[in-house]
């Protein structure tokens, strides 16, 4: 069994419109701050199983676990710069993607 190093969230792409989604407590969320955080290997496996179920249900594609760190408020922030890009949008067009809705919030 792989060593569980960091808390993790489940990331996917929405089938119909390609938007990045995160598995939350009651379904898929567009905001990563509402994602369910797995704190142990078995929790992560459970997230993955739910993700795979939704692949079969033709809801999402390209499901994977991403390492995060937790802020003081418990909200997750991805560790790798690629996932940090995915939760925001293009760094060269701050008016587009998820960051636009936020008004550019971190």
């Amino acid at each position: 069994m792989a060593v569980f190093k960091h808390p993790q969230i489940l990331v996917a792409s929405n089938l119909t419109d390609g938007e990045v989604l995160f598995l939350g407590p009651s379904g898929w969320e567009r905001d990563h701050r509402r994602a369910r955080v797995a704190q142990a290997a078995d929790e992560a496996a459970a997230l993955e199983a739910l993700g795979k179920r939704d692949i079969s249900a033709n809801r999402v594609v390209d499901v994977y676990l991403a390492d995060v760190e937790l802020g003081r408020d418990g909200a997750p922030t991805p560790l790798h710069y690629r996932e940090r890009m995915r939760v925001k949008g293009p760094s060269v067009r701050l008016d587009l993607g998820k960051q636009a809705a936020d008004g550019g919030a971190p």
């Binding site: 792409s13 089938l15 119909t16 419109d17 390609g18 938007e19 990045v20 692949i55 079969s56 249900a57 033709n58 594609v61 390209d62 790798h80 710069y81 690629r82 890009m85 995915r86 949008g89 293009p90 760094s91 060269v92 067009r93 587009l96 993607g97 998820k98």
Partner: protein, 574 residues
Amino acid sequence: MTAVDLRAPQRRNAPTISYRYDEYDAAFVRERVAEFRDQVRRRLSGALTEEEFRPFRLMNGLYLQLHAYMLRVAIPYGTLTARQMRRLADIADRWDKGYGHFTTRQNLQYNWPKLVDTPDILEALADVEMHAIQTSGNCIRNVTADHFAGVAPDEIEDPRPTAEFLRQWSSLHPEFSFLPRKFKIAVTGAAHDRAAIMVHDIGLRIVKSDSGDIGYQVVVGGGLGRSPFIGKVVRDFVPREDLLAFLEAIMRVYNRFGRRDNKYKARVKILVHEKGIDEIRAAVDAEFAAMDRSVFSHDPAEFERIAGFFAPPPYDALPATSASLRAAKLDTPAFANFVDVNVGAHKIPGYAIVTVSLKPIGGVPGDATSEQMRVLADASERFGFGELRVSHEQNIILPHVKQDDLFALWRMLDAAGLATANAGLVSDIISCPGLDYCSLATARSIPIAQAISKRFSDMSRQRRIGKLGVKISGCINACGHHHVGAIGILGLEKKGQESYQITLGGDPTFSASIGEILGPGVTADQVPDVIEHLVDFYLAEREEGEAFIDTWRRLGHARFKDLWRREGEDGADI
């Protein structure tokens, strides 16, 4: 009874810009749209899994990217009519976010389409004789050509009829739609290659035999990406009537023997490299000899029919130079600068080829807003028979502008932010979308381009430096063509950070060469400094008339590596 050949040339009175669909072409594209609409339906219902849907999604140009889907629209041999450009603008507004990105294969990418909207987008494209067929997937991709086709003074023959011929031949090919990997073909028809044929899977060079017959030098196994290779000549002269058969033979050899065990070793360049060109040539020759060429040998009448669409437009008879142009240049230095940098000679007296740069200082290379696309469409109608080209350098070409009209055109472009006078200069950077958009990327590329562009924003300095091709790729797939940049930049990941490897000495033309690595990767912040050091060194060392690549070739890579090492020793933190 009189039999009429339905293929009578479509010239009539109105000149055609480019190939016009007949009922068969139109029916073909409509069938593809209907087919894809059904495939989307079956995907949503689960009749097709994502794994099964994916090759067909890709064959219609739809990728899943970092933030959204991406649709790659085919612009065959980079040629567009004003009407088509306007439709691209409308699609951007209606189904995307008001802009598009012109690519290094003369195509256009939309970054935010929805899967469920894509059939409607394809329908809107079909209305103007456009499509997104085979812009992705393990099939034959957009056949690209010289963006100065038909108008360059050094042209032997317009490569676009050949490219159109091949486009039709390669569309939904029953045998070659499930290749080991993607397959890219480029055609060039001039003394100078502007289509980078030496780094394509198949590169075709139009040549004239001693007896004046047109044929093709066929080059195989060029390519960039993880393992860059310069293509090798597989046959020096293939007569026009044998071209299709000969290409079929190459495709069959590749389809049968290309590697399928490893995605990164599956291109034809690897097959040529591993077997050697002699063995591949023998296999192709044997297959070519075994074919019954009468079955699908070239039909000269069909080629003529296609070529008829690319007949020259009705140019006016003009003097070779324009007095009003001369006067306007004297009057307005900024305009004079634009003409000197962005305007090239035309084969017809009194005309000019205009490069519209999509690389404004600090802007996103190759992007155009829907508003800018409409301005370009208008400009082409006012000043150029309604024709535009997309170059693989991610700029737009207006290929038929009267010298007398250049000033009015420049005013129009300037008002729309399209008059940056940097064609071929250091800020005319080729850059892939990189990690800002692309799910394959390992690092961002656009901010690097922006930083370099801003560092060299001074136009007189850029002119002093002269022609310098900077090309940036955000990952090893090399869509930014960094291997063939005089200065190439490759974005990688090193210890959890974006890291940039610089290469020097790349060349995409007939004198093709792959760039050589300068040293270990640097951070994003350091890149503009490094580029500036290299440029300053070049300026100090260059001889009369030498471009950057010439000086590099003369001095040798070692001199530049020394410069790099010295910088490191001086504590420049490289």
